[in-house]
Symmetry: C2
């Protein structure tokens, strides 16, 4: 097995460089002073160039081929065989991309992120537009290098959700759209006051929000010895190994949900990463298997757990005593309803569960149009606003609350958004299965027992890292491929109850 | 000049990787959760291996030779000629060190730092000893690879203070020792109550200490748009370019000096780095020219400025109003005397100006003995304590306050300490010259005018980065080589006044 060990050592070095770049990106978005931006772009460009060169070098290819031979006789389900299989997939993907293109993307996206942050702060799209222009062009090149049979989107999406196609995304949206639209319609008909969420828009001291959020996620299972939380413009989770997983959050003094559910959401991602088997640390099988599965973990904790009646039966007394002035007069049920208010709105990350996927459809369509040249960057804000009107009956008052709201495009992550909707659907499919396997998950949550659910997720998903694809995991766990039924049932049941439909 | 540009590009990439490693080290000591240590060691090992390989590769050598040819006809004082000259010095230094040794040091020191921090927290030398053993062995190998004519110390010191020898260090100590010892003796004879420093050992809220310190360094000239301050076990300054310079500090609620003067000290380093010409950013001429010159900047701001009567004439009213309960009854002169109390003590970083260099002599001698095999690692704590008894008449109550107090050995930085004493001496030589050139620096400081002094330092030292060596700078500025007289005059005048000698 010397061949296997040699490949593992080599790819361990590649992973170390990639996670070093990850630290630089984390620093970039959390602590770096403004004056560091220019050098950070150079650092990331050089690192990505070297990482890419190493990962596609003839030496790596030679080691990969030798390792492939050496594991031929092993059980395909062994760690070694899986390692080599995923290493091959990574190699073939990277080898299609010229190093110059990869490092150019790293450089441009570092600078673009800076411009996006400024543009968003000033609600000034023209500051970001030239960078978006560059990024769309670079992403087209990526898609064309990776190869596709007509839709560039397929190639980009595959990087985040191996095996998924734009057509699958459309099918997924087709399956959930009728129920979603009908639900939204029925809820809107109940009038804007059917659920009153004014109580979560009262005054909530930031330091207390932080302390409460950290107490909640510690209780759920976030390990602060192997992670930390910081502030950032846009919340995210970065993992460097299972021993170092970092989340970020942001606060709104007059909107409790932002930090609270944002923190629980990122914790869902972090629990996945902290739960990957340590033997996979710092190498090919480490980390989450796909963004869809990743998002299933964040949405499961944020929504199916964090916005459930059971969760607040357990946590509401301590929340209430943290904010006696703002919540002292608010009964638990009123709070539960408030955090589940459904309302067409402008900002994706604050959207309720029912309207959320409409935000994703909008982005999916726009990305597609930008990539295929059906939409110009200069016309994108107008297109955004038109779709917002069509789907939500709303027009953003400015671009900060419109096209500039998300960080993804500044990071050259086109093709990423559909994994959010995929995550919603998988989260419900998994939760239903966990409930069957464990029996009465809600009752456990009500008693503040999170270990059974977390243990089930660790056992069935987290520990495997990248060993199994999303589809393989779903088959292993539920005996089925992607199934939208549990998600639709979940939505109809929960919101039927809240809105008395 | 294409040859020059090619070399510059190559070395810019090397610098980017080195500063990326710098960020990882900064993160390691400020924010990294404990679980990240193992992967951090791998990241730093791989990065240092690649950085070293790139810096000594045949391609770099080829570019260097071509660039040397291309600048032959230029003014030797031009940036281009200086760039190539320093690049050659760096190349020759690095080329002597095998890549495996360099990456082994990176790996070991990352792990050793972790063990040192634990060993210090528990005051348990045995936890650190095996790492120190490894580090001494590695540093011997470094010295032997770099080459020396008998004393390994020469080779190690030269890395921090180009051109300086162990014999120069001895000569420097010989020049300052008689005055230092006589001063200490005279001061000790005045009795322990000649100066009362109990007032700075009262209660000082940490958050207020932080706010006051940051206000002070902002006023002095620290640019928070191009830097930041964090907490760390051991205070330090890291610079990645002139646009991103970070300092750290630590607090003692019952000892005001620790954070206050620690912050001003690190700010001295940071002002140097923030003042380097931006055209040198991210390449060979960026950063400080030597550790001695660096330390001259930190000691100048910490001591010659920060512990002067003039400084507190300006700042004391606001300090007093920050801590009315602890300082309301303390007159300015009493405070000035308190922060300048001379007393043989255990901890180097808290030592007064008069005894400080004795701490350095101790470390210089011990490092020498360890490197030459005259002292075994297992016997080092006893040797430390014996020297403490000899120089200070004190015995550390535990190793945390003895041999484990400094971070340097855990970072494999043997040969580094003498640059602290060198910095003391240079700081006085520069301050005397600044005073001559500007006229009445003290009066300016008293009025809160720091711009003239900072401007003088920027003009004469900071902007030049690594272009001139320490010796060249001193010649350019003062027309002399290193001169201990201004330092001795400074000590005698200041402490003669305070202690009425």
């Amino acid at each position: 097995m010397q061949e296997f060990e040699d490949l593992k050592k080599r790819l361990g070095e590649v992973s170390a460089l990639a996670s070093a770049a990850g630290i630089l990106e984390w620093d970039h978005q959390t602590h770096m002073p403004a004056g560091g931006a220019a050098n950070r772009a150079v650092q990331l460009e050089v690192l990505s160039k070297i990482t890419h060169e190493m990962s596609v070098s003839s030496e790596t290819e030679r080691l990969l081929k030798a390792a492939e031979k050496s594991v031929e006789s092993l059980d395909p389900d062994s760690d070694e065989a899986a390692f080599v299989r995923i290493a091959r997939r990574d190699f073939d993907h990277s080898a299609k991309l010229p190093t110059e293109l990869v490092s150019e993307i790293a450089r441009v996206s570092a600078l673009a992120h800076e411009s996006w942050a400024e543009a968003r702060a000033e609600s000034n799209y023209s500051k970001f537009a030239p960078w978006l222009e560059k990024i769309v062009d670079l992403e087209r090149q990526v898609a064309d290098h990776l190869g596709h049979t007509g839709e560039r989107y397929d190639a980009l999406l595959d990087q985040y959700e191996p095996g998924m196609k734009a057509a699958d995304v459309r099918a997924m949206f087709d399956a959930i759209k009728p129920t979603s639209v009908a639900l939204v319609k029925a809820i809107v008909e109940r009038g804007p006051n059917a659920v009153d969420d004014s109580v979560i828009k009262r005054d909530f001291d930031e330091a207390k929000q932080l302390a409460f959020g950290e107490a909640v996620i510690k209780e759920i299972g976030f390990d602060f010895e192997r992670g930390r939380q910081d502030r950032a413009v846009h919340p995210f989770c970065s993992s460097f190994t299972s021993g170092d997983v970092r989340i970020t959050t942001r606060f709104d003094r007059n909107f409790l949900s932002m930090a609270l559910f944002g923190t629980i959401h990122e914790t869902g991602h972090a629990l996945y990463e902290q739960g990957v088997a340590p033997r996979y640390d710092g190498n090919t099988l480490g980390g989450g298997t796909s963004l869809g599965v990743h998002e299933s973990q964040s949405r499961l904790w944020e929504n199916l757990v964090g916005r459930s009646r059971a969760f607040w039966t357990h946590f509401y007394p301590s929340l209430q005593s943290t904010f006696p002035e703002s919540l002292g007069d608010v009964a638990p049920e009123r709070f539960y309803r408030a955090v589940n208010k459904v309302e067409p709105s402008l900002i994706r990350v604050e959207a309720d569960e029912v309207t959320y996927n409409l935000h994703i459809m909008l982005r999916f369509e726009m990305e597609n149009d930008l990539l295929e040249g059906r939409l110009e960057v200069k016309d994108a804000p107008a297109a955004w606003n038109a779709k917002m009107q069509e789907y939500f009956g709303l027009t953003p008052p400015d671009d900060a609350q419109g096209i500039l709201q998300d960080v993804h495009w500044s990071m050259a992550s086109l093709g990423y958004f559909p994994t959010y909707s995929l995550g919603n659907i998988i989260s419900a499919q998994l939760f239903a299965q966990a409930n069957t396997d464990l029996g009465g998950v809600s009752a456990q949550i009500e008693r503040g027992e999170f270990a059974p659910l977390l243990g089930w997720l660790r056992e069935n998903i987290h520990q495997w890292g990248r060993k199994y694809t999303a589809g393989e995991l779903l088959q292993r766990i539920t005996g089925k491929s992607l199934d939208t039924d549990p998600y639709l049932t979940y939505l109809k049941t929960k919101y039927g109850d809240i809105y008395g439909l």
